[in-house]
Symmetry: C2
Subunit: 217 residues, 2 copies
DNA sequence: CAGGATCCAGACGTGGATCCGT
DNA sequence: ACGGATCCACGTCTGGATCCTG
């Protein structure tokens, strides 16, 4: 059962009110989808459940989840104390497409986000996990400055051919980690010496230390 | 039931002998695959049946059907008089990748081909269609000269931006036709004036007049 | 009947993320 | 607890070709 996509921010916020406090069992029953035993073989299940409830089409590449509103949806697993349990995936890294920050996928994905924190302590069964209050958020100048610096430094390392040395240790809010089916997946890359090589596809992620600020406000 | 891939040309020719004269009903029974009522919703079925019988893996992109032998497999529907009923698809057209003929996908697909003609008169039910004698063929210099000229002229028209005017009328042996799910599928293209536009994805095909020469020898 | 349009299966890529060893 | 590794769904692309109308 798919809902209609909200046409205005007010409609979206109404839908968010109807989401806060509800359990995943509750939501999946209303939407008539079956609930998996755990997330090991369904890692994206919660995110897709929330997408369905809020009425995003779940397809559409390169467009925000709510295209007419320009808003991106991100779920965040948190513990009882509103502390994120995981980093948050932002988008794939496009090596060799050097643009300005404002043209980047990262900026455009994070400019305007609906964060949906979900109480997800590991001892809490999937069905009993509950939605906290969704947060409609816009990137502020200070945050942008930090993200921009992170992005520029990380992209520069990639451009210069240091992709293999680019570990998840770099970056204040944003960092780069593998993003692939497994480590056998490889894509073309040109290293610092100008030689053709292969690296595992990578993605941008927000560190939990960053999203913690959002969830605790 | 998948067979092993032939490791030598001799093994491949043995397999071909076992194929000649047999009906599609016979083959599909041996391979334990169900036979469709007609080809309208299974246009590639015959080709895939023959692939299975001859032991090609059916995956592998950019590689020949028999990678270790460097041989490509092509089925050709023919009538009682060995005249092809259709043109033969070769490969997709890669606009904006101008290389030399010998580096082209067309040359490499057609250098060494196992043609499998199949009696396919329209009044003959799918199950009753029979395999004629497979033909293991290598491109000869005269054929290459004609194919090369066709390919160079067609590619030049594409490079120069005349993709929209490039109809299937051009080319002696080889021509270009749409190759997509339907005519709504579009891909980026730069026209003769240098403007960005969209065209339907295209493929190279061999005219029936060309394959007729092969089937009648 | 030639040329433009179309159809399926299966591989591949991307967006949704969490898992889990050190 | 962090960073490298991994997992599913689903849309898109590609290779297998034939359909079908003017």
């Amino acid at each position: 059962m798919q809902k209609f996509m909200p046409q205005t921010i007010d409609e979206l916020q109404e839908r968010c009110k109807a989401l806060a406090g509800r359990s995943l069992a509750d939501l999946s029953q209303e939407l008539n989808v079956s609930i998996p035993e755990n997330l090991l073989h369904a890692k994206g299940w919660v995110g897709q459940l929330i997408e369905t409830f809020l009425g995003c089409s779940a397809n559409s590449k390169a467009l925000p989840d709510f295209p007419n509103l320009g808003i991106e949806l991100k779920t965040i697993p948190i513990n009882r104390n509103y502390k994120p349990l995981e980093s948050t995936y932002v988008c794939t890294v496009q090596a060799n497409t050097c643009t300005h920050w404002r043209d980047s996928w990262v900026y455009n994905k994070l400019r305007h986000v609906l964060w949906v924190p979900i109480f997800s302590d590991p001892d809490l069964a999937l069905k009993d996990r509950k939605i906290a209050s969704p947060i409609l958020w816009q990137m502020d100048p200070e945050t942008e400055a930090t993200l921009r610096t992170d992005w520029e430094e990380l992209m520069e390392m990639l451009q210069l051919g240091f992709g293999k040395k680019l570990s998840a240790k770099f970056g204040t809010y944003l960092h780069i980690r593998p993003k692939a089916a497994n480590s056998d997946v490889l894509q073309d890359y040109i290293d610092e010496a100008g030689n053709k090589t292969k690296i595992v596809p990578k993605g941008f992620y927000l560190r939990a230390a960053f999203t913690e600020q959002l969830c605790k406000t």
